[in-house]
């Protein structure tokens, strides 16, 4: 028993099975991210005037990651084209770059995450607010590198080049009413930022694992069934482009607007 159209396209649809499968899967992914983007819009227009933080993220890092993903997209498509041109060595090189770029993306993203998790907002008993990165934490006091927040400028971030100079500020524990880092719990913007980017990062990692498998042990198939192998590269590539596509919208929505 053999399932037809695994490699060769079916005549009336012009497609092989996996091509239909991946597009259906991507259709469901569109709805998944679509629901999260809808949530973003609802949360954003629901925020009280001035409450939605703008400029919390470093645009240049985000732009760098955008370029990384775009570059990985071109290497994926060139890797596939190399197979179509029967050049396996070139495929290995291009797809190797893809995997490196995927790893670069995840590493940069993890630096961004760390930056947010060490970034604190400290509210004192007298309602003074300090904002900055945690430098030292002892049982009696904390030291943050940051600045005092003037009333109403709460949501201003660092990316626009904050005018307030940053200094080391020592705060006694007893003075602190509330101390919270910029994790997803801090506000709904960070909640949707972490959820969207973490889900996207999971897609990046998942895609990189599949591409890595097809680059390493999975590439043996090239010798026995080159057409099928090329199809697999095409399928994994389609997924990868979709991941890139999501980021194309995530970047302006989360970093710029």
């Amino acid at each position: 028993m053999e399932i037809p159209y695994v490699v060769q396209p079916r005549q009336d649809t012009g497609l092989y099975n996996a091509k239909v499968g991946i597009w259906l899967f991507l259709a469901s992914e569109v709805m998944l991210f679509g629901a999260l983007f809808s949530s973003y819009i609802i949360l954003r227009i629901g925020a009280a005037p001035g409450e939605w933080p703008v400029g919390l993220l470093n645009v240049w890092i985000g732009m760098g990651n955008t370029l990384v993903l775009i570059t990985s997209s071109i290497t994926v498509v060139l890797a596939w084209a190399s197979l179509k041109m029967n050049n396996f060595a070139k495929f290995k090189v291009y797809q190797g770059f893809t995997i490196l770029l995927a790893m670069t993306f995840v590493v940069i993203k993890s630096f961004e995450y760390t930056d947010k998790f060490t970034h604190y907002e400290v509210v004192l008993q007298d309602n003074t607010i300090y904002d900055g990165h945690l430098k030292e934490r002892t049982p009696t006091h904390v030291v943050i590198h940051g600045h005092k927040v003037e009333h109403g400028r709460h949501a201003e971030g660092e990316a626009h080049g904050s005018k307030t100079p940053h200094t080391d500020i020592r705060i006694e524990r007893a003075q602190i009413k509330k101390m919270e880092n910029y994790g997803p719990w801090h506000n709904t913007y960070l909640a949707i930022y972490f959820t969207l980017t973490a889900l996207h990062a999971l897609h990046v990692i998942g895609g990189a694992v599949v591409i890595g498998y097809l680059w390493g042990p999975g590439s043996k198939l090239w010798k026995t069934d080159p057409e099928r192998f090329t199809n697999r590269i095409e399928i994994s590539g389609l997924f990868w482009h979709f991941v890139d596509l999501v980021w194309i919208f995530l970047f302006p929505v989360l970093y710029l607007l």
């Binding site: 239909v20 259709a27 710029l256």
Partner: protein
Amino acid sequence: MSDHHAHDAHDFQHHVRRYLFVFWALIVGTIITVGAWYVKLDSMALTVAIALLIASVKAFLVAGYFMHLISEKKMIYGILAATAFFFAGMMYLIVWGRDQVPQGTIHLGSRDTFQTPGSPSKAAH
């Protein structure tokens, strides 16, 4: 049929040139997006419009050329058309639904509107 079936190397050189063009277009698009943000336009609406317009163009390029949607089969178009319909319906109706919520209810979520005392609901008794 589309030129997709030609597998010879010469044909693919042509494709590769197109892919590289798309790549540079994507890079330029990213730079323009950030540039528009950097000069800080007065109008927020314009900034949003530019950013989303460029993102849409980039998405079209990726989907159209890298994912070959520009020359894909009818069946795929059908699936994606249905998806687009449901996607648009979901987003539009949810946002519109939010827009129609009467003022002074907790659905609006903001601190200001919550503090506005609403009339106590009779249905609760």
